[in-house]
Assembly symmetry: C2
Homo-oligomer: 678 residues x 2
């Protein structure tokens, strides 16, 4: 490994195109096994070690890689830690019974397998299809099927037909589902649906969205909107580190979580310009998309797009003016393929600024004295494709210190065919003739590793409560009293809780050792989510078992270096039952003992998302549907942290003072004052 | 009245600068009373009459004005309907016991009254202030004070001190509150707060936000973002009517509601380009801001900024590049002053387009075949100043047929002084030294007068429900079943309901006579609000009585021409008690009898907003806090209505087809196809 690279890199930088094959080679030299690589990714330094380095009290941590590999042609999984700095394999262990993520290569392989499988060919013939080049499938992990459990790695092939190579396959779903052994590379079963003893004809009407089919209907009337930054952008990049008007953080990327933001600080002029830490690490650590149609094989449709496939590996290469508009800085994404080679996704991460409307405004109604400043956001974004769906992820930083995590859902509905005797209701919507799109939920688990002015934080649940005293009582004579009830969550058991709309519930991550000088409350960042639907699957259901993290809106755990993924490190083909865990711990097991989470290093897990009852308007391609959460400074800054943003307008006496060079409150006219009215 | 004007005007156009004095003159000729005008505004035509005109089955309705006037120097209210077309006074009636909105002139007058009142001067002396030019007040309507009821019109003067004319008064609140008779123009009482027998010293630390004070701290680092439309905008204005890529509507404006959008239609290419109606009229019909500090005089702080002051009259004149960015079309706002003259607010309404991110995207993971189209919104906006607060209101129309109502709250916190022995908690936050900002809520009542493909609509409550059958049962073998439970709201009593987060509750406004051809559900627009906090004041409290509309999230009423304002037409100094109504009916009385609301002309009332526990960051000027609701087409369009938006990118085979002039599905290459990749 070229030592120069290692020296220059930030400890959280993703593995580079040279590091990935270097790691693969080291491991090949280490073991005689014929390995097929599943994951070669940065093994992030231990937190204590990395913080010591950040605070210049410890050395730069060694670069290390986590490797997950399979013995070729088998489901036997091995896990390694490779030290790149020292060129040594530190750990190499067999992980029996574990199924790692399904790779894009695994998915792509399934389509060719089913096309040439005699059983599948026979089923297609029954449905009237002879030309197998018109048969397509979206491979999904099997989820969990008790017929096989986790003994072999399997995928289910959701089958479709295309009239032409450009035709929309989601308009032509087929009624059977082959099961493929990923390692043996063959169809091992075909689940065939029968409705009253009959097969379901393929929906044959075309519903297309590609320009080939719809270009003639295009509206002529939209005039271009140009967004430019002639003087350049306001952020600076140093490798993967960003600085933007006070904010500083590191942008990581890995095959599983996609974008990871770390070491988020703010150079606070109200505290002498010193860096104040807010978050150690933010990522979308898991997600689940359970479908609500009760009959087989749809019960297996509940994709964990992080833990089963990887949001990073499925990331799109972005295009200027299409995915993002304005002055863009891009970062590539890098991950490994099965041969241990680096795969580069050019322009995987988009970094840009956007105008964000009014930041603050006030007019004195007496004299029209007025200031208006404009807000803007720094956006760090990616888009990934999970078979039919597209997820656009935006990490938005605002001038007032707010951080927003916004997801926009688009792409294609997962569809299924309706038998002529069937209705779509109540489990779906008939979005095209005899095409049903099933009810489903999207639940995203945001992992928030806070560092609010330091590592030791507590979490307070905030509930808006009316006074307990009735109107007319001495304590509440007019009946208008209400307050914010703050409850310190003391243990992991107490912290497993749900959003409560009745009390507009939020959660404050506080530093109990640092009080706000004026507000006399501990400095805090508040988690605001109004879009946290409950998991609608029943307790004891397959998805309830497997997606344990989704049983509550919110969790808090004591920080542990190896607790990154709330559904477990190995998600595919888990049953979710505890006796099936075999060391693959998840948030249910982590929180089993009521561990202390007060004034210590904690991690918060917030579930948010939406319940989607498909509409005709979502077909054949869905308009984006947004969902978002906020992290808001709450008595974190001494006062409005955006007060030092130059306003674009100052009217009335204020305007007059500028234009005429009049004195300010201290009898001075400064250059800044003269320039502040644009 | 110049008949030419009347002929050219749209029946919903606001009264013009020539119509307002014309109406005032007609009324002065009609009555010997010495009138002081409170309101001269468009009296909108009856709905049946206007619809007949729109549908060319009836004549153009006469232009009429509603006039509210006071006998000068008294609280005696008279109400008139003046027909401008025929130059006649159609109605002139005395309205005993009613208090009309407080005008800006009323508010401004109070400050000069209190400054010269001997009692106020004495109180200021006690607090150490000799120079009365440094004493300011925000006049508020008194709300309701049982000492006087509604027999005279009164305002409460929230008192402040300023060290210099530019100083922020909200940093120096005084501890007493004069009560002013609006018509007699004198102080009639001074409510003085005592804390353990002591007065509260004026907080004397300065917290400023105007450039004079903070310019020297401005950050130098933000580079300009330029937004231009070199080919012009994509919307057309015809007077107050807008057309934008399918959407058509009329923009009205009045002193009370500000922007009113009417006759909202969409020229639907999926139905042969014909105009399909969606909404007859949309406006923010009322709002209330109850404060939660239980002691007097704060119980009187619950401003109804629509019904007590008027969002239109308080509207800001907007500036390009400051309030709005890009290519802007402005409309002026016009209302009347007390002399019956027209007051013009230049550039009161901003109309512009904004890029709105990805509209839809899908990539075929096999071959990278991809389309991305960009969304944009048409924004119709206003900003109004309600003493300390600023409300920015955005009516956003999106290419996918979604209409969003977004409010951004900014401006100044209402503040009060703390006695040295007092703490701000639990009723407020100490945002500056000895300055408390009290807990409060902002509840906005959106009046939705739907016309979903016709006048006769029904409303269905939609609740996401798990299957009632347990996991393992025959009906729900895997436990994953869930569905959307639709409940038709049949009467006003059933329709008075609350948001339910447990079921992600939404409401569908449907046309039961028009089924979606594919989805086989009635065409609908869905109301989505996740931000509808409950009213925290107790039942029986003053604000609960007065803001009856806020007792539930949602209401539906049968349409009546005169039911525009859910807290009543005359809001100031109402007790909210029924025996006090005297013909001033509100939503509580309208919904008393369980009237039919099924398949008829209905109006929906949606409350949304937020509960605000002030933060230090909200001082001295608040960063905008957004809150919004959506109206989404739901099986209204045949399919995605934005499918005819030209994508900005088409990759893979699709790209290849364009670049090489290959055939489309029908063997043709069209010009549109060639142009679709930018």
């Amino acid at each position: 490994m070229p030592s120069k690279d290692v020296v220059a890199m930030h400890p959280l930088d993703p593995l580079s195109v040279s590091e990935i094959p270097f790691v693969a080679d080291l491991l090949r030299q280490h073991t005689p096994l014929d390995l097929c690589f599943n994951t070669i990714t940065l093994h992030e330094p231990a937190k204590t070690e990395l913080l010591a380095y950040f605070e210049s009290t410890g050395p730069k941590p060694d670069r290390k890689a986590l490797v997950i590999a399979l013995e070729k042609g088998t489901p036997q999984v091995h896990e390694a830690i490779v030290n790149i700095t020292t060129s040594t394999v530190e750990k190499f262990a067999y992980r029996p019974g574990m199924c790692p993520t399904i790779s894009l290569e695994d998915l792509e392989m399934v389509e060719s397998i089913v096309r040439s499988d005699p059983g599948v060919i026979e089923q297609c013939k029954i449905l009237g299809v002879e030309d197998m080049s018109k048969v397509y499938c979206d491979a999904w992990t099997i989820g969990f099927d008790k017929r096989w459990g986790a003994k072999r790695r399997m995928q289910q092939a959701l089958m479709y037909y295309r009239e032409s190579p450009m035709d929309n396959q989601y308009a032509h779903p087929l009624d059977f589902c082959p099961i493929v052994d990923t390692d043996a590379q063959k169809v091992i079963e075909i689940d065939i649906r029968s409705v009253n003893g009959e097969r379901t004809p393929i929906p044959n009407k075309q519903y297309n969205y590609l320009p080939e089919f719809v270009a003639e209907t295009y509206r002529p009337d939209l005039k271009p909107i140009n967004i430019t930054q002639p003087e350049g952008v306001s952020f600076q990049m140093n490798g993967n580190e960003v600085e933007w008007t006070g904010f500083k953080f590191h942008i990581g990327f890995n095959a599983r979580e996609g974008i990871v933001l770390s070491n988020i600080r703010y150079a606070d002029p109200q505290e002498g310009g010193k860096d104040r830490s807010m978050f150690y690490r933010l990522s979308i650590a898991e997600m689940v998309v359970p479908y609500g149609e009760p009959s087989a094989p749809h019960h297996r449709k509940h994709a964990f797009d992080v833990g089963e496939y990887g949001m990073g590996a499925m990331t799109n290469s972005l295009k200027l003016g299409c995915d993002c508009k304005g002055s863009i800085h891009y970062l590539d994404g890098v991950y490994s393929n099965r041969r241990g080679e680096a795969v580069v996704i050019p322009q995987a991460i988009c970094i840009h600024e956007e105008d964000a409307g009014i930041l603050f405004k006030h007019t004195d109604f007496r004299d029209g004295k007025c200031v208006v400043a404009r807000n803007r956001k720094l956006v760090v974004s990616q888009v990934f494709t999970a078979a039919n769906y597209e997820y656009c992820i935006y990490w938005n930083f605002f001038l007032d210190g707010t951080i927003q995590v916004e997801l926009k859902l688009t792409g294609m509905l997962n569809t299924y065919c309706l038998h002529p005797t069937e209705e779509a209701a109540p489990w779906g919507t008939e979005v095209g003739e005899r095409i049903t799109a099933h009810n489903h939920q999207h639940i995203f688990c945001l992992r928030i590793d806070p560092q609010v002015d330091g590592v030791n934080n507590s979490v307070m649940q905030s509930d808006a409560m009316p006074s307990p005293h009735p109107a007319g009582s001495e304590e509440n004579p007019y009946g208008n009293a209400f307050f914010c009830q703050k409850t310190v969550l003391k243990t992991t058991a107490e912290a497993a809780c749900d959003y409560n709309h009745e009390t507009s519930r939020t959660w404050d991550i506080v530093n109990p050792s640092k009080m706000h000088p004026t507000a006399k409350k501990p400095v805090a960042y508040k988690i605001v989510s109004r879009e946290s639907p409950r998991l609608l699957a029943q307790p004891g259901s397959l998805v309830w078992n497997r997606a344990g993290f989704a049983r509550h809106t919110f969790w808090v755990t004591p920080y542990k270096d190896d607790q990154l993924y709330p559904a477990g490190r190995y998600v595919p083909q888990t049953s979710g039952l505890e006796d099936d865990l075999e060391g693959n711990f998840n948030i249910i097991t982590w929180t089993k003992e009521a561990a202390n989470i007060e004034n210590t290093d904690v991690v918060c897990w917030l579930n948010f998302g939406l319940t989607h009852f498909p509409r005709a308007e979502d077909f054949p391609v869905m308009p984006t549907e947004p969902v978002s959460i906020l992290l808001r400074p709450t008595n974190f800054f001494k006062q409005n942290p955006a007060l030092d943003i130059r306003p674009l307008q100052a009217q009335g006496e204020s305007q007059y003072a500028f234009e005429n060079g009049k004195e300010n409150g201290n009898g001075e006219v400064t250059e800044a004052m003269k320039k502040c009215c644009v």
